[in-house]
């Protein structure tokens, strides 16, 4: 069983190597073909032009015409459809999520968030303590009010209970 697995692994590795080589070869062959797009006219003879940056919406979309392939009409997707399909692939979504996580966990972002949390906690604590102190102050009369009602050395007034019974 183990030997079969080993043979399969070696075959898969060899297939992968062959595929990578073929892909490299095809790209190296295609690369020089795209190069000769350079203008045949000398650069100094070209008319002067002003470069204007194009927005994504102004860029001319490359629309391919529908073709008949083996009796079927094949409609090539638009660029937006291709981009949307590529962005909705699971590993692209995962890469986007990982990039978002790394972006959110950058040191500066992390410090900003922790400082935000600490400030919020301290602000709420300060407000709560201030509200508690205010509540205590309103529930208990202040020393000035007490001073106005009585003189120094006087004991607070006690409720007097009269034991005399008037007849």
């Amino acid at each position: 069983m183990l030997s079969v697995t080993a043979v399969l692994a070696v075959m898969a590795l060899a297939a992968a190597v062959v595929a990578v080589r073929a892909a490299r070869r095809s790209t190296s062959v295609e690369a020089p073909e795209t190069a000769p797009d350079a203008p045949a006219v000398a650069p100094e003879r070209l008319p002067s032009a002003v470069l204007v940056p194009l927005d994504a919406d102004d860029r001319p979309a490359r629309v391919l015409a529908p073709r008949h392939v083996e009796g079927r009409v094949v409609v090539p997707p638009t660029g937006q459809q291709v981009v949307g399909a590529a962005l909705s692939r699971p590993h692209v979504r995962l890469a986007i999520l990982i990039h978002g996580l790394t972006y959110a966990l950058r040191p500066e972002s992390r410090d900003r968030i922790t400082a935000l949390m600490r400030r919020e906690y301290r602000r709420r604590r300060r407000e709560r303590l201030a509200a508690g102190r205010r509540a205590v102050r309103t529930a208990r009369p202040s020393s000035d009010a007490w001073m106005a009602e009585s003189w120094i050395g006087e004991l607070p007034a006690r409720p007097r209970t009269s034991t005399r019974v008037e007849s």
């Binding site: 073909e33 795209t34 994504a56 860029r59 001319p60 979309a61 490359r62 660029g79 291709v82 981009v83 590529a86 962005l87 692209v92 890469a95 986007i96 999520l97 990039h99 978002g100 996580l101 790394t102 972006y103 959110a104 972002s109 900003r112 968030i113 922790t114 935000l116 949390m117 600490r118 919020e120 906690y121 709420r124 604590r125 709560r128």
Partner: protein, 80 residues
């Protein structure tokens, strides 16, 4: 005399420090403190989610731009 003063000041400072720390720890473990910590954690979570969304949007735009540039680049097959 000087040594006693030093020890007195050090003891007073340590007492004040320990009292403040103990009061804060007690507040943190009380119900209002737990509520405040939960509120702060909620705020932090919202900020983190915002950062995460920003990063994801940025990367999505990068990928889309890269794909768009690749799509709009004229190839040899498109040449008339």
């Amino acid at each position: 005399m000087r040594g006693r003063t030093v020890w007195f000041v050090a003891g007073t400072a340590a007492g004040v420090y320990a009292t403040a720390k103990a009061r804060r720890a007690a507040y943190r473990l009380s119900m209002p403190g737990l509520v405040d910590q939960a509120a702060a954690a909620g705020l932090g979570w919202r900020a983190f989610a915002g950062e995460l969304r920003n990063g994801m949007t940025q990367y999505e735009r990068e990928v889309a731009d890269r794909l768009d540039a690749h799509m709009t680049t004229p190839t040899e097959s498109d040449a008339p």
